[in-house]
């Protein structure tokens, strides 16, 4: 593995845009360098009815940043008396991460959201100090991100429906993690549509 802090625990996440739907997927491995300790560590967290964030990197920071973000979003909902929108969520995340600019958290994030009224989709990618990308079609983070990017670009088509989107996301993730020793051991995919959210567990290689 080397002594790279971002590959100490491993893990990967991927998000793809479709027509009025989004898919976000992650692997389930929790390991310490070469040793796999658990196969139930999902990296996707829900912050609102249609807003999800995936965190990849050092596992302790995945837990801490997700919980600190939850604290801030809970306060927002109590004060404003309304649910979060994806833009608000990603701005909160940027600020949270930049507060630690000179002693950063070792997590890279994906922020995804859907506006249930208009069907507008949002997919953003963040580095560990809060640089957010534009609203893009495909994002990946984690130790296997390069391998999944290649497959994702191959399988992506604009305006896919929910089923095609699920297939494309699953295949990109499952085959990409087979080339990385620090990710895999199962996967979970969330497909977010205007009226429902479907969670599916994928049967992946367990080695």
């Amino acid at each position: 593995m080397g002594d790279d802090i971002l590959s100490y625990n491993g893990g990967v996440a991927l998000a793809m845009k479709g027509k009025e739907c989004i898919a976000i997927a992650c692997d389930k491995r929790y390991g310490v360098q070469n040793r796999t300790i658990a196969t139930n560590f999902t990296k996707i967290f829900q912050y609102s009815d249609h807003c999800f964030v995936a965190f990849c990197g050092l596992a302790t920071d995945v837990q801490t940043v997700s919980e600190r973000l939850k604290f801030r979003t809970n306060l927002y909902e109590l004060r404003e008396q309304r649910k979060l929108k994806p833009n608000v969520l990603y701005n909160m995340l940027t600020n949270l991460l930049y507060e630690r600019r000179f002693g950063p958290y070792f997590v890279f994030a994906l922020v995804v959201g859907l506006d249930p009224k208009t069907g507008e989709t949002f997919v953003y990618d963040s580095d560990n100090i809060g640089a957010i990308s534009d609203n893009v079609n495909l994002v990946t983070v984690g130790t296997a991100s390069e391998y999944i990017f290649g497959l994702g670009e191959l399988f992506f088509k604009p305006n896919m429906n929910a089923d095609e989107l699920f297939e494309a996301t699953s295949q990109a993730l499952l085959n990409g993690v087979d080339r990385d020793s620090a990710s895999g051991w199962g996967a979970v995919v969330y497909v977010i549509e205007k009226d429902k959210i479907t969670v599916r567990e994928l049967k992946g290689r367990q080695d």
């Binding site: 593995m1 080397g2 390991g31 040793r35 796999t36 990385d180 020793s181 620090a182 049967k203 080695d207």
Partner: protein, 280 residues
Amino acid sequence: MALANVLGFKSNNEFDRSLQCQKTDNNIDEFCPTLNIENIAQFITLPPYADPAKYLKMVNEKVDRVKIQFLKGTTTLAFKFRNGVIVAVDSRATAGGFIASGEVKKVIEINPYLLGTMAGGAADCAFWERVLARHCRIYELRNKEKISVAAASKILANMIFEYRGMGLSMGTMIVGWDKRGPGLYMVSDDGERISDNIFSVGSGSIYAYSILDAGYKYEMSTVDAIDLARRAIVHAAHRDAASGNIVRIYHMKETGWEKIEEKDTNDYMYQYRDEKTMNF
């Protein structure tokens, strides 16, 4: 020309060159000597300075951020039992985090009655075990009998010892059957050579040892022994990130080795989960 020869004058024209070539052909052994253990240094380029061990150490330890990391990311195991020796290996090769290949042949078939396993540097294991094969064949031709496992492993250990400290990376097990019965030796790059009933080498060996130690009995049947070896590799493949893909099993018998199987570890993992002997 006669005058030129008498004076020892070498010219570049066609006539003289052809005479020179003939001379070369007669003395061809001087230019292409045969490879043996004493003159192997002529065939392998050693670094052009004195005391290569001291400077080659730099590439193995971290000096100026230069480091060739030979990660022994693998799981290989072998154990003796009543009916011979079982050898089982995985097939994954990792370079840092990247899985470079899932189909590496980590059992080297030295000859029909000797096997060697590969852990550490693939090139090191493959090359030196091929040199060992040559030595074993010459022994057989000279002495009209098969070489013993003890002798074969000693030849390998001595060859490696010459290069101690220069950065070879090998953790290999030599398995065979000779007139003393089944033989199993572990030979490694620091010159260690030991014999025992159970060995496992590689980053996944810790997981394989626990399965082997729990289920090992010398009086096992062949079917049970193969199952134990398979389970050990499959459990190691599951827990160790640097092991996995295909499990290959060989059985060393009195008549030589036999390849038992070559199957995907992932299929076994789901099968063991259904049988409730594995949990994930």
